[in-house]
């Protein structure tokens, strides 16, 4: 029996690493756009896109701010590019307790790329507009989605099973009960 699948619009910015030469215009445009009022201040520390640059080794990597990480990961991965070793943090898009990147410099609040949602909407996000090297490519596509309810149920189970594995089912139940009681109080 075929169900009617829902469709959702997915917007992404694809990065062509061969083309990026690290000029950081994307950072300037993003930061300026997101200031209040718009364009009233420029501060790349507030940019939702940051370019990791190691110019003499020809490494230029734009990274767009993603989901906030409550805790540091172990950070043990490294990458060797053109013979030089780089830690994984350089390529990670998470606002994270281990560093200042992707956080407002004054408040510390995490930044997240919102594809320049605006009213009226922009044709393309600011970083894509200002990247004249064509290293940032804006893509809009439709994707089918599974029923929301089913998905939520699946996700919840998966998450709980993971935590049960990590902390033990007893500890998990104990913690949930304690939290529920605290809420009621």
């Amino acid at each position: 029996m075929s169900e009617e699948k829902k469709k959702k619009v997915v917007k992404t910015i694809k990065v062509d690493l061969d083309k990026c030469h690290g000029c950081r215009a994307c950072e300037v445009a993003c930061a300026a756009f997101h200031s209040t009022p718009k364009y009233s201040a420029v501060n790349p520390a507030r940019s939702r896109i940051r370019v990791y640059r190691d110019e003499l080794n020809d490494v230029f990597l734009p990274v767009r701010a993603g989901a906030y990480a409550k805790a540091e990961c172990e950070g043990h991965q490294s990458y060797v590019i053109n013979g030089k070793e780089y830690g994984e943090c350089n390529f990670c898009n998470a606002p994270c307790p281990s560093r200042d990147l992707f956080k407002e410099p004054d408040s510390g609040l995490p930044l997240r790329c919102d594809m320049c949602e605006a009213d009226p909407p922009l044709e393309e996000p600011m970083c894509v507009q200002w990247c004249k090297a064509d290293a940032l490519i804006y893509e809009v596509r439709e994707e089918e989605v599974e029923q929301e309810e089913e998905l939520e149920e699946e996700e919840l189970e998966l998450g709980l099973e993971e935590m049960a594995d990590k902390y033990g089912l007893d500890k998990l139940i104990e913690t949930v009960v304690r939290l529920a009681e605290a809420r009621e109080a």
């Binding site: 950081r24 300026a32 110019e55 003499l56 090297a133």
Partner: protein
């Protein structure tokens, strides 16, 4: 609230270790904008002409421009100002790259350094935290190593670093200040840093720069970006390829070096090789560059990509742009582009000026061939010219043996060496080495620019105009969309292009002096605007039909900085800055006798006519016969304090 600028300067006294954050006067912004303009106001106020370059009382200023770090494309320049150890006049040397915007984001418009540190140090600026740190472990290290080590030590991926190499530490008079992607090469600013025992400055900032009228400013920036794209897709027809785009001459992108190799001089600015460029050379050089060049890159917030990452096996990776691709090759009379990439790697890592160093070395070779320098002066001197250049470079940066004499540059070296060496100093102006070009017929426009340009560097006064008459069928097209001409001069300047090359309308006696003055004034004023705003001349004063010009710069300044600005006022401001720079040099003894190109700069010279031209230009600029700004000129520009000082010193009569 201050707009575009931060409103603060960082004052550092290396003798005492004192560090202060000092608010600047907004009035100075209105009068001098920023960058070179406000640098010179500070220099005028604090460094009287008796101060020598290597005195602790000499200051060195590292400045962003008024628009530095804003959204304006190419607003990334660092303007370094001090007294030049070579010319003994003032000097302002400029680099691009990524450093100045970080200084602004850290909350400073300038760093003003005075005194001398007892030990080798570097300065670290992290927003409000400013430290003078031990640099003894960086002594002798290359400019690139220094950057890498400082970044590692500070455990920050993002600080931008300015550094000197061995040449600066040893006070070579043509030592440069290098950042990973750019170089402030001319007039020996690296030597001043070395003299103050300042190895490097690292900076990182996370503060806002405010924009006064955001929508208007951003709109102009978008229009500038659009025009940049338009110019990159539409090179100017009828001029050599290398001059047809924007940015620096695109030597890292283009293989065709015919114009440079046949127009400029080889050796010690001695020989012109009109038959040099042929298919074989073209093919060889294309291969060499394709293999050495890893990627074309830009400076901060600029799409043009004038620079390239250069990696030659066995040599440190570095970045290069523009004419230094050829200066060593041509000075060494080596037909070998590969040599150019190799020696530049070493030269830049030590931090020397890519225009001066090759000429000093070619000068030494000439003296050796003429017997003025001998085996005694140059023990073990190789017989092959490229090897000689490596030898000389090494001696110079270490100030070893004859290197200690050559490290002062051609002018001083010639006088120290004596024995007729002076005759071989034939390519300096104001004791500073010039681009090696010796042409046939006097070019009256360039005569004025070579003579009077305060930077003593032709590339920092010229621009806007083709360098030869355009082909007849191209001229109409050229003038049709020539939007950059200042208001009121459109007809005059277009007529110049349309007529140039016709019967009776060629050098040396055409164009008429009054038109020459206006053409020179336009070219030069635009450079002073760029150097005050911190804009790259490659997008503005230097190329043909640039994105920045008198019809958008005023609104960028007013919308960015929140000061009232229109075309007339910006024009006047550029003239004020220009006169302040001249006055600073006059105060240090510069006069008419210094305003002259080398004797052999053209084969055909006309001394009487040249003298008449110089008179007319001085008069046009409002200067007396000695090239000193007159009372009327100074007072009209609000430079009364200059006039008063001149009277006190007997430079002008009351």
């Amino acid at each position: 609230m201050r707009y575009a600028e931060t409103g603060f300067n960082l004052e550092i006294d290396l003798s005492t270790g004192n560090i202060e954050r000092v608010p600047s006067d907004p009035q100075d912004t209105e009068l001098y904008l920023g960058g070179v303009g406000t640098n010179y106001k500070i220099l005028w106020d604090r460094v009287p002409p008796e101060i020598e370059p290597f005195s602790a009382d000499n200051i060195i200023i590292f400045s962003a421009g008024l628009l530095g770090g804003t959204m304006a494309p190419g607003a990334n320049r660092t303007i370094i100002t001090s007294i030049s150890p070579q010319t003994l006049f003032t000097g302002f040397s400029i680099l691009g790259g990524y450093w100045a915007p970080q200084l602004k984001y850290a909350g400073f418009d300038k760093i003003i350094v005075r005194g001398k540190s007892p030990d080798l140090v570097y300065i670290w600026i992290d927003n409000d935290k400013v430290e003078i740190r031990d640099a003894s472990h960086l002594k002798g290290k290359s400019t690139y190593e220094t950057t890498r080590l400082i970044r590692e030590e500070l455990d920050q991926p993002y600080p931008e670093v300015l550094a000197i190499g061995l040449a600066g530490e040893n006070r070579v008079y043509f030592a440069s200040v290098e950042s990973a992607t750019s170089s402030a090469s001319r007039l020996g600013m690296g030597a001043i840093m070395g003299d103050k025992n300042l190895k490097a400055i690292a900076v990182r900032g996370t503060k806002d720069i405010n924009i006064a009228r955001p929508e208007v400013f951003m709109d102009q920036c978008n229009k500038v970006l659009d025009y940049i794209q338009y110019r990159l897709e539409n090179p100017i027809p009828g001029v050599p390829a290398i001059l047809s785009f924007i940015g620096s001459p695109q030597e890292m992108a283009l293989h065709d070096e015919k114009w440079h190799t046949i127009s400029f001089s080889w050796g010690n600015a001695r020989i012109r090789r009109k038959d040099f460029w042929n298919e074989e050379v073209a093919r060889e050089w294309e291969q060499t560059m394709e293999s050495a060049r890893k990627k074309l890159i830009s400076c901060y917030n600029c799409p043009v990509r004038c620079r390239a990452i250069v990696q030659v096996p066995g040599y440190p990776s570095y970045t290069m742009k523009c004419f230094s691709k050829l200066t060593y090759v041509m000075a060494a009379m080596a037909d070998d582009l590969d040599f150019g990439f190799k020696i530049a790697s070493i030269a830049q890592s030590h931090g020397v000026d890519g225009f001066t160093a090759p000429q000093v070395m070619a000068f030494a070779v000439e003296l050796y061939e003429a017997g003025v320098l001998t085996e005694e002066d140059l023990p073990g001197f190789p017989s092959e010219n490229r090897e000689r250049f490596y030898y000389l470079l090494d001696k110079i940066v270490k100030r070893e043996g004859i290197g200690d004499v050559l490290a002062d540059g051609v002018y001083w070296a010639a006088r120290k060496i004596g024995k007729g060496a002076e005759a071989y100093d034939h390519n300096t102006i104001k004791k500073h080495e010039q681009i090696p070009i010796k042409l046939g017929m006097l070019n009256p426009i360039y005569y004025i620019m070579w003579s009077t340009g305060e930077k003593a560097n032709i590339t920092q006064i010229e621009g806007q105009l083709p360098q030869a008459p355009l082909p007849k069928d191209i001229r109409e097209e050229f003038v049709k969309d020539w939007i950059q001409i200042p208001t009121g001069k459109e007809e005059k300047f277009k007529k110049f292009i349309l007529e140039w090359g016709e019967e009776g309308k060629t050098f040396p006696f055409w164009p008429p002096p009054d038109l020459i003055c206006e053409l020179v004034e336009w070219q030069e004023n635009m450079h002073y605007i760029d150097d005050s705003l911190g804009l790259c001349a490659g997008l503005s004063s230097f190329p043909l039909k640039p994105p920045y010009h008198m019809h958008n710069l005023p609104v960028l300044v007013s919308a960015g900085a929140g000061i009232e600005m229109d075309e007339d006022r910006l024009w006047e401001t550029s003239i004020r800055v220009r006169n302040l720079v001249r006055a600073s040099n006059v105060r240090r003894g510069m006069r008419r006798k210094d305003d002259k190109p080398p004797e052999d700069h053209w084969k055909k010279r006309f001394p009487d006519y040249e003298a008449k031209l110089l008179d007319e230009y001085y008069s046009y600029r409002g200067w007396n016969k000695e090239g000193i700004p007159t009372k009327q000129t100074l007072q009209k520009l609000g430079l009364d304090f200059v006039y008063e000082d001149f009277v006190k010193r007997g430079i002008l009569e009351e």
